[in-house]
Amino acid sequence: MVFSSIIFLCAFLPIVCIGYFLLPKRLRNMWLLLLSLLFYAYGEPVYICIMVFSTVFDYTNGRIIDYCKKHGKKWDKYILVLSVVGNLGMLGYFKYTDFLLSTLNQLFGSQFSLLSLALPIGISFYTFQTMSYTIDVYLGKVQCQKNFVDFSMYVCLFPQLIAGPIVKYSCVEKQLQNRSVTIANVANGFSRFTIGLGKKVLLANQAGALYEQMKSLTDGDWSMSVAWLAAISYMFQIYFDFSGYSDMAIGLGKMFGFTFPENFYYPYEAKSITEFWRRWHMTLSGWFREYVYIPLGGNKKGWKRQIINLFIVWFLTGLWHGAGWNFVVWGMYYFLFLVLEKGIWQIFKKKQNQDKRCGKKENSLAALWKHTYTLLVVLFGWVLFSCEKTEQLLSMLKAMVGNGVKISSPIGVYSWTNTILFFILLAIGATSLPKKIADHVVPTVWKEPLYYLYSCFLLVVSIAFLVRGSYNPFLYFRF
């Protein structure tokens, strides 16, 4: 099931909420677990077995590791290895087997037949979550969870199950048993949910429809302006889709008393690629930092080792986003910019510190340049990300630099003028400007009622678009 559907909004959500609020505290986790299983089974009636297996597997691993620790047995290490290998093996089997086989076939001309498995929805998210649990139990950062219902609910909890944020076990350890459901939280959570819904249904889907149309143009219709329109609309689509999903997840979590970590913080406002990745899909970067980068030594073992560590992290980050070479290249692309930025920073750090000491403010021209640089790098990054085939990528890049195509075509001019207002709205929506204006202009007394009114407006219009049945894709089937 997806959040942006009538069946979720008008059937699943009311049922889960009403049941949850009416049930006594001790039954609430059970209720959430049952409904979460139903939620997942609705979309993956077969692959739910894999999620259930994953849950039982890591629950058992956690218990054994805990037993070993308490009784001074030494084989807790092997259980941890078993858990990590098991999780990665499952992820690898479903997500990367075909990728590996087809790469081998291409390289050596072998004839391995592909498995053509559909990827179980959310597998990349929940395996990372369960891994965070067993690793942290081993490291003694969290207590072993003995209550099977509580643990299962953590793994299967529907808000963040299929598209993140990746909630580490340590984040919600206490909340599993102890969380307060207040009217304020429910109201706050629901309004956050509607903001995410609006981002997804009203902004991302429309931008996505535009991207699909522009991408399909050929011959006389295809031009540089069309290619840019396609690239920019994809850039908006992926941000609003992904951050919208995170907003919905965080909002739903809040309604049930959970505090999930934030996942996006106006990434398109960043002034460098380093900063961009501190604002984009923060829980994924955080996961890789905690469980890959730092264990490898991070930046503590000299710059050569740091570059190797970064390489590993970004190779994996690329691969995590999809089983295709374009995703790996996309990861490497960011690795390159991050290393470059780190190098340049070393040189300019001294000067910057001097400037700061003298109280010099960064001038606006420099800021503009930094924003432009970041946005362009990110934009071309999304082009890499979205084009799975090399020829597709080349034709897109060629068109964007105006190689062999017209500057503009009539349909390009029409589409730009037709969507310019929408683009302005998207651009403003991607920044913190609306929030800043609301914070400064709206009197405090009015803030909350207006916020709820706005939330109702978003809900009503989103329902209108959903009923209309406009373009409503699910982008995470390959994550």
């Binding site: 959500l13 037709n418 109702c456």
Partner: protein, 375 residues
């Protein structure tokens, strides 16, 4: 503090209450099976089976069911169009919101395969060369291409000039290009519907005169056919895509002066006349002609003097053919999308038949069934 929690309670009870009510309406309300506005069947409650659930088809139908059975569905859809218009979008669901209430479908060069068009022309050429005496081919201009002045500012349509030129090169005998005549007529009359993709009787009449001239027949004035307004509230296929509040309704005129008696056979079903008046009650009012499209329609008029006319066509012919009934003893209309028997055999059975190929231009360029001509 107390005020705040009252406000929060009102908000939460309000929104969750509304969502619940919608849900109750969807699942407990009366199930609708057809949407007049959109001219399509609505999804009904799925038949639940283990197999269906495991394949996901039950869930899919349930999703569609919830969308299709939503209370006040029409109003919600109009709201979404409203919002799109507010944000400056003049092309909704692939349809331009033109001037004077015209909804014009966006068809771009990218959507038209030149190769397929050429291939289709070749097939007609081949078909024509097979001993047919009097032949004509007429491709009706797309609405957006002809009514350029009705398009919103900057709107783009495919370039049909090339296509007409190519057509003329392939089919030199009997090639009819009525763009100029239609354009001239469009200045004073309504040749296309505003909300439907078809032409009006006025538009079809222009084609009628061009065809009569081509074959050396006498043309009778438009009024002779006794055009009669059978509906003032026609909202057609283009409206179904846009679903705008307060659309401009079309009037539907049909020729009432038809010879009697007639024997009309639609895919084997025998009728007395060509009109199916019940269709005027629904939204797809153009289907008043013959009741829609059939693989083969035969119209027999024993009082006529000329022989047989064979029409290879799409739905645009449905309003043109009535004006030709008076002349021919027998008219056979073939819609290749639905006709699966031998076309060659029909030609052999009617060796002296006149043949007309009539399609809307973009329909013809996209048509995938013309190979049946050679079967």
């Amino acid at each position: 503090m107390k005020n705040r929690s009252i406000l929060q309670s009102i908000y939460i009870v309000g929104v969750l209450g509304c969502l619940t009510l919608f849900g109750v309406f969807i699942f407990a309300g009366k199930q609708k099976t057809f949407s007049e506005q959109e001219n399509r069947y609505l999804a009904t409650f799925p038949i639940v089976s283990w197999k269906g659930i495991l394949e996901g088809s039950v869930q899919k139908q349930l999703d569609n069911y919830a969308n299709d059975q939503f209370p006040l569905r029409k109003e919600w859809m109009e709201l979404s169009t409203d919002m799109e218009k507010k944000i400056g979008n003049s092309c909704i669901n692939g349809v331009y919101l033109g001037k004077d209430g015209y909804y014009l479908e966006q068809v771009l060069d990218s959507q038209i395969s030149k190769a397929r068009y050429k291939n289709n022309l070749k097939m007609v050429q081949h078909f024509f060369s097979d001993g047919i005496k009097r032949k004509a081919m007429l491709l009706v201009p797309s609405r957006g291409c002809l009514l350029k002045d009705k398009l919103p500012k900057g709107a783009v349509m495919y370039n049909d000039t090339d296509l007409y030129q190519k057509g003329k090169n392939y089919i030199n005998i009997g090639w009819l290009d009525i763009r100029k005549e239609l354009q001239r007529a469009a200045k004073t009359k309504q040749v296309y519907f505003k909300t439907d993709h078809h032409w009006t009787l006025q538009g079809a009449y222009i084609a009628y005169t061009a065809l009569q001239k081509e074959w050396g027949n006498k043309t009778v004035p438009y009024e002779t056919f006794l055009p009669t307004r059978v509906s003032k509230h026609f909202l057609g296929t283009m409206y179904a895509k846009v679903l705008e509040r307060h659309p401009q309704e079309d009037g539907l005129d049909i020729p009432k002066a038809l010879p009697q008696p007639l024997k009309v056979t639609c895919d084997g079903e025998v009728r007395q006349g060509i009109y199916v008046e019940e269709k005027l009650q629904g939204n797809d009012k153009y289907a008043v002609y013959f009741g829609g499209n059939y693989g083969i329609v035969e119209i027999e008029n024993p009082k006529a003097t000329a022989g047989t006319l064979l029409v290879i066509k799409d739905s645009f012919a449905n309003s043109l053919v009535p004006m030709l009934i008076g002349q021919y003893k027998k008219i056979i209309m073939l819609d290749l999308r639905y006709y699966n028997l031998s076309v060659k055999k029909i030609v052999q059975e009617n060796p002296k038949a006149d043949v007309l190929v009539l399609y809307e231009m973009s329909n013809f360029a996209k048509e995938e069934h013309l190979y049946k001509l050679l079967n």
